[in-house]
Structures are given as C-alpha cells and as structure tokens.
C-alpha cells in the first residue's frame, strides 16, 4: 500500500515536471550529480571526495591511476615517465612533459595560458606547506621532505612566507626536471603525487586572483571552468588547448569484450561538456536519474529494492530503458575490534570463539542485500597482499566449534564471562548490525551490550582507549595494503589508527620490513604473510568487504568503477545516437 502511495506521489511529480526539455543531442554532454556542495577549487584543500572529483576535471597531478587496469596501476600524467629513484630510495627525479599549457586566463600575459614548468610543481608543493594557507592536505607531506618542515616553521609567526627560499629536498634541475629528497623511505610517496592535494597550480593565477583564487580554477586539465559560482550547477567545457592525451589501448582482461576499448587511441577528453548538478537528498537524485537528467548514479540505499531485484538483477523497467547496473566491490573492510588493552581479550580462544559464532551469511543477507564479500582478513580483494585461495578458518559460522572454543578459553557456556560492551555509531544499520551480532553470540552464552555514540564521541572513546570493543569500517586512502595493515601495527596504537591497540612483534617486524620496499613481488609476499598471520590470530572480528551499486544510462560509454576517480571523467564518452533513440522512452 505504501508503495502505491509513493508511486502515486511520483506520478504527480512527473506529471507536472515532464514539460521541461533539458536534453541536447548536438553536443556530447555528460550529466553528473555531486551529493555535496563544493567548497572551492583550491587543490590544497581538497580533503573530501566530492571536491576532489570536481578539481580532477580542471587540475592535474604528476601521476594518475590507469582508468581500466586493476589492481590499480599508477601511470604518469604530467610526468613523462615514472621517476628515477636513487639507490637509497630517498631521492626521486621527475621529468615532466613538455608542451603542456595552463588554461587561458586573464592571470597570464595576453590572457594566453603559459607553458608548465618544473618551478610550478615546486611552487605547488610549497603552497601545501605554507603555514599561512592552512592547507588541509599538509599531513601528506608532514615530516616527509628534507627541509620542508623547517621552511614551514620559519614562517609560522611571519607576515608572509617567502617562496623564493631554497629547500634542500625540493630542487629544480632544469625547466622540465626536478627532484624531491625524502627524509626516510616512503614507497607510498608516488600515491601522494596522484592525490588532488598535490595537483599543480600556476603562481600567476594564485597571485592575480588572490583571495578569489578558489573561485577561478586555472589548471592544465581537460576541462575549463572560468568562474566557479556557488550554485547548484557547475558547467565545464572542453579545454581547447589541452595537450595530446589519448584513450588507453589496453586494460584489464575482458575490457575489450565489454566495449571499454572502443575509443582506444582517441584524443581525450571525449565529451564536450560536463554538467554537474549538486543534489544532496537521495530522492531527487533518484528522480533526476529516472528522468535521464543524470547519466550516472550511485543507487541510494533506500531505492535499492526498486532498482535491483533479488539483490542482483536490474528491474525490468530500468532494463527496458537500456540502463546498466554496476556492482563495484569497494576497497574497504568492516570489523568489530577488540581493545587488546583489556586482559579479557588476551585470550585468543575467546576471540576465535566469538568470531565463528557470528553468522555472517545471515548478516550479509540482512544488511548488504547479499552483495558484500565476507572479509577473510584485513586486506580487501583488489590489493596486493590479498590471496584469493586463502580462507580464514575463523570466519566460518560453526556454533558447536564456537562452544568448544569458548569452553577451552575457560568460559564453558559463557560462565564467568562478564558482559561485553560494544561501541558503535548512532545510526540505524550500525545498531541493527550489533543487535544481530549480540543475538548470535547469545546462543553460545556471551552477553553483548550495545552502546551508541555520536561520531565524535566514538572517535574520542577509541582515541582515549575507553572502549572495550568497537565497530567501524575502513576505506582505502590509496591502493596499497600498507594503508590497511597499518591498522594493526603496534606503534600506530591509539591515538593512532590502530584503535584495537593490537601488538604482535612478529607482525610489526614484517610491517617495518615491508613498508620501505617498493611495490613488487617481495613486498606482496610479505603483505600476504602478514595478512594471513593476523587472520588466524583474530585481532578483530572481520566483517565484510562491501559493494556499491551504480547505474549508468545506456548512452554512457567507457564507464568502469574507480575507487580513486577524480581523473576518470575525461575518459567517459556519450553516444548521441543511442541517447536520441532511447530518450523517447523517458
């Protein structure tokens, strides 16, 4: 009945709004939705994913992730090639592409965009460190580059920072070459140079627009946006002076078959215009997609059952319009963490008993529409260090074995075991998930108490070690398992990211060895070893690697899910013929 009321209301809405014609068939336009307002276009403040996505259209960095290859591969973008790294792993020499120009802008002489030089990178990295600018991305370089922290500290109390100062770790070699010297090996450094924080800006533009710089993005990117106004729509047009950059001609296995290589070798960007509508609420987002006013959409949680039948197939109504469904496994892991400060959890058998008493299959059905993958250990699939063949014996639901382990742990039928309190976020699904966990553990005699917290309260409790157990999810910052393994590294204990305060000397030794190694077989072998070591030690009760669902209109080409997708849009294409044909159905 409720459904019919909802559809009736939708019907009325459509009736009154179907008169507006908003489709163009002359230009290749890509219509996107941003779920949050954009704070401005200064890369050094690109701390949230939504702003980062917008900046990725106008600005670029030295590197980017290959749009098709998986696992994620870092490829040169403004850099001509991957850098030369000195033997000690500390000095990186970068060669940048010649003939790259900034967007045309009144900031430059004659309004013509100037050529990109190595000075621009050094300037942009210094901006990230400038104490006057309070960059949100400073943590990325903090204590990493020789002399940079000293330069920053020098100007903390001064009126303004002097960008002319020489910094030992940032050296210009010639107009197209520069080097960066690190304090200690940091193999993830190149990932930092693919993040929006380190995108390159022009000094002239920063000085010309001064305080208004964040509303006048001047980059080298595939699209231009002369002025950014804080409205609900952002319109980007193709950069007429964009360099010769081509669609990749190779990808992952199967990409050819799914048509992802149809545009191979073509000059990008492939669309003429990108129109981004800012829509915060999920219902209007859904309606906008249904009316073909948006080309891509992450399915709002509440609309899942309308769009996807039985958790996997697209509804016939959407299929008849040619809409495609993408299920994208995320680089994330959910978990219940023990606080290993608590002597209770020194008991490994207890941890293992709790882990196998939880029916993950049922939880998957109830909370993730059966679309999540049971996490075997800390590293999610898709990252080096994850081995498909490895199955964690302590995640398989087995109530008898759980009872046996609990007895061996010294608590037969839970006798003598105090009630265990789990902290979680104040959110419906988070609460229900713990209720489910508690219900399962009750069967072997373990009593669980739920404690709900606001987000800051939860973080505070974990940071101050006031928790007994807590539950959370971790999403990748960059595609390197180090980002996940660090969650169990002893020196990162609270207030660091190891909120479980788990300490395992063998694991820590391997971590120290692995994190200074460059990407490769040796490092991956170490990662695998660590991943499988902690799996059986059960420092957390591993939960799930989740899946997000996206819809794309039939005319969108080359869409493939990317976790780090700020540079993805230049590769997308729109098939005008298909759009014209199918638009009649909307």
């Amino acid at each position: 009945m409720i459904k019919s009321i909802v559809s009736f209301l939708f019907g009325i809405f459509f009736l009154f709004s179907s008169c507006s014609k908003d489709r163009s068939f002359d230009e290749r336009e890509l219509h996107l939705i941003s779920p949050e307002k954009i704070a401005g276009f200064d890369p050094i403040h690109a701390s949230d994913n939504y702003s980062a996505n917008e900046m990725g259209k106008v600005y670029e960095g030295l590197f980017e992730f290959h749009p098709l290859k998986r696992p994620y591969e870092l490829v040169p973008n403004l850099a001509e090639s991957l850098p030369l790294v000195s033997d000690d792993g500390l000095t990186y020499s970068f060669k940048i592409r010649a003939g790259v120009h900034f967007h045309d802008s009144p900031a430059f002489k004659d309004g013509k965009g100037r050529e990109l030089k190595s000075d621009d990178f050094l300037y942009s990295l210094k901006r990230l460190a400038d104490p006057k600018l309070q960059a949100k991305g400073w943590w990325l370089l903090d204590d990493k580059i020789v002399g940079l922290n000293e330069w920053r500290n020098k100007y903390v109390a001064a009126e303004s920072s002097n960008y002319g100062d020489e910094i030992e770790g940032l050296r210009k070699i010639d107009d197209y070459t520069f080097s960066i010297k690190l304090k200690k090996p940091y193999p993830q450094f190149l990932y930092a140079l693919a993040m929006p924080y380190t995108f390159v800006v022009a000094k002239e533009a920063v000085e010309h627009f001064a305080k208004e710089f964040l509303n006048h993005p001047v980059g080298t990117g595939p699209f231009v946006l002369p002025v950014f106004e804080q409205t609900n729509r952002i319109v980007y047009t193709k950069n007429p002076t964009f360099r010769e950059k081509f669609y990749p001609s190779e990808g992952e296995e199967g990409d050819d078959k799914s048509g992802l290589l149809a545009d191979a070798g073509k000059k990008i960007p492939l669309v003429d215009k990108i129109i981004v509508d800012i829509i915060v609420e999920s219902q209007p987002k859904w309606l906008s997609f249904q009316k073909a006013k948006a080309d891509l959409l992450e399915i709002p949680k509440d609309n899942f059952d309308t769009a996807v039948i039985a958790g996997k197939d697209l509804s016939p109504e959407l299929r008849s319009k040619g809409i495609r469904l993408f299920a994208n496994p995320q680089l994330d892991v959910t978990f219940f963490a023990f606080n290993h400060d608590d002597p209770l959890f020194k008991n490994k058998k207890l941890r293992q008993a709790m882990s196998i008493a939880w029916n993950r299959d049922e939880a998957n059905k109830l909370f993730y529409n059966k679309a999540a993958i049971e996490a075997q250990s800390v590293i999610p699939p898709g990252l080096g260090g994850y081995r498909k063949e490895f199955k964690n014996p302590y995640i398989k639901f087995d109530i008898d074995q759980a009872k046996k382990l609990l007895a061996e742990a010294g608590y037969p039928q839970g006798k003598g075991l105090p009630e265990i309190k789990i902290e979680t976020r104040n959110e419906t699904v988070a609460r229900q998930l713990i209720e489910h966990f508690a219900k399962n553990l009750d069967r072997i005699g373990i009593k669980i108490k739920v404690s709900m917290n606001t987000w800051p309260e939860l973080i505070n409790k974990v940071t101050k070690r006031q928790h007994q157990m807590y539950t959370m999810a971790w999403g990748a910052d960059y595609p390197d398992a180090e980002n996940f393994l660090g969650l169990l590294y002893c020196p990162y204990s609270s207030p660091g990211s190891n909120g479980a305060n788990y300490c395992n000397p063998d694991f820590d030794n391997l971590f120290k060895m692995a994190t200074v190694l460059q990407d490769g077989l040796e490092r991956n072998t170490l990662y695998e070893k660590m991943n499988e070591m902690v799996a059986v030690d059960v420092p957390w009760i591993f939960g799930f690697n989740r899946t997000k669902f996206y819809l794309s209109q039939a005319w969108v080409r080359n869409y493939k899910f990317m976790e780090f997708n700020h540079s993805q849009f230049q590769y997308l294409n729109v098939d005008l013929e298909v759009k014209k044909e199918l638009s009649k159905k909307f």
């Binding site: 409720i2 959110e427 419906t428 209720e435 219900k439 404690s451 709900m452």
Partner: protein
C-alpha cells in the same frame, strides 16, 4: 444542598463524561500491560525469533515480524513498559521539584521568588530537546539517564503554575485565619494552601506524562534513549529504512501504541481539568 467533598464531586463529574471514562480505561490498560510486562508475565520472549525476517502481519503474527524475525507485537508491549516507566519516573522526579520550588517562590516572594523565577526562565529558554540531549550525554546512555533527564527538564511548567496559584492563595482569608490562630509558614503552606492547589498537580501530571512519553520516543529514535531494549523510538528508527521496501508494520505498531496512549492522556487531562476546576470549563 450538595454536601459532597471536592474530590467526590470531581469524580462524579468525570464519570459523566463518557470519553473521559474511556480514556481512563485505556490509560489503566496501558499500566496493566506495563506492569505485567515488567513482571515477565507477558512479552518476556521478545528477543526470540518467531519466524522469518520481516513477515507481514498474519493470523500467526498479529503485527508481523521485524528484521531479525522477532514478533513486533511483543516489541510493542515491551516498548509500552519502557514508555510507561519513563512517564512515571519522570513525574516522580519533576513533581517534587516543581511543587516545592513553585510553592516556596509563591509563598515567600522577594528574593526567593526572584531566584526561582530566574531559574525556571533560564531553564525554559534552552530548547527542551537540546537540554535533554546534553543531559543524556553527560549521564551516559540507558533508561536511568532518560528518567533523570526527563525529570530534570519537565518541572518548569508545573512550578510556574503552582507559584501563580500559591501567590493568589496566600492572601486569602483562610490563610489569614490560619495565621491568626498561630500557624507558622510551613503549616500555612503545606497544611492549608497546598491541598487547595493540589488539583493543578493532577491535571499537570496527566499532561506531563505524555510529554515524557513523546520525549523518550524522540531520544530513542536518536539513539540516546534505552539501549538493547525495544522502545517505540527505536522501532520507528528501524522503520525509517524499511518503509521503502513496504515493511510498514513496525511503524504502524509503534505509532498506534503511541497514538492511543497520547490521545487518551490528552482527553483525560482535559476532563480532569474540567472536573477539578469547573470555573475553567470551556476556556
């Protein structure tokens, strides 16, 4: 000539109002359900699975089942226990505070009155829900905090009413007569004035009771109320996500339960006011 006492008279007037009697029966029924539930005589197995997840209402499951296959009707009953206990506990805390402060302020006037007036104006200037949230955050979560938080925030209205009434009564002849035969302040206040304004407490309690129930639902909805126990608030919170999928019975169960008790308390409150304070009738 009518020789009945005030109370008997009021009771007589109340029983003539059929709607009020029906409301009284409903309120009593809720109390009985709450007491039976707290004694474990009904709905003690609310946490047990009785069927599959999200079963629609049927003969077997009168109000269907929730996401974990638990009976919604049992959760509603358990929620009734929580709601009624919150109403009672909050009133038990709020009435003594409101009555004492109001009576002292009204009777003594002067700086005592200034102080109490300042206190309740300050309290009432903070939005109630904010105050509630802050108190539950300080006290930690759980049903006890909800009792205290609601008790501490809901005395203001009663205090203001009692103050006004006492102010009016302290100049009356019967109080002067009490003073003439040597009655002290406390005797005049508690022996003579308070019994004459006590009907206000009863009227106010029935009104306050429903505010307490509503607030508990809001707090639990926000995740600040009872933990690990069913509450109408958490049931509505569950329903928020289930509705799009057409699972309406949890919302229906909780809101219907809430609707009847709130309506009954409202009507009863009005009827009590009419019965106990006939001069106000129709105002």
């Amino acid at each position: 000539m009518n020789t009945n006492s005030l109370w008997k008279d009021a009771f007589f007037r109340l029983t003539k109002d059929k709607l009020a009697v029906a409301s009284l029966v409903i309120v009593l029924a809720y109390f009985i359900i709450a007491i039976l539930s707290s004694l474990g005589l009904i709905a003690s197995g609310w946490s047990q699975e009785v069927g599959a997840s999200n079963l629609a209402p049927s003969i077997d499951h009168f109000f269907g089942t929730d996401i974990f296959g638990r009976s919604v009707i049992m959760k509603v009953i358990r929620g009734t226990q929580v709601a009624m206990s919150v109403g009672v506990a909050a009133s038990l805390i709020a009435i003594p505070i409101g009555v004492t402060l109001g009576a002292l302020a009204g009777y003594f006037g002067g700086w005592v009155d200034d102080f109490v007036t300042w206190l309740y104006t300050t309290f009432s200037s903070v939005p109630n829900i904010m105050l509630l949230i802050s108190i539950t955050l300080i006290l930690g979560k759980g049903i006890f905090s909800v009792y205290v938080a609601l008790g501490l925030t809901s005395w203001v209205h009663l205090c203001r009413l009692i103050r006004g009434e006492v102010l009016k009564h302290r100049e009356r002849e019967y109080v002067q007569a009490a003073a003439a035969i040597g009655g002290g302040h406390l005797r005049k206040l508690f022996r003579h004035i308070l019994p004459n304004v006590s009907h206000i407490i009863i009227i106010n309690t029935s009104m306050q009771f429903q505010v307490a129930i509503k607030s508990e639902v809001i707090l639990s909805y926000l995740g600040l109320g009872v933990q690990g126990e069913p509450s109408w608030g958490t049931m509505i919170d569950d329903a928020k996500l289930e509705l799009v999928r057409g699972v309406w019975w949890q919302l229906a169960g909780a809101t219907l339960a809430m609707f009847f008790i709130l309506l009954a308390l409202n009507i009863l409150g009005d009827a009590l006011r009419d019965a106990l304070d006939p001069k106000l009738k129709g105002k």
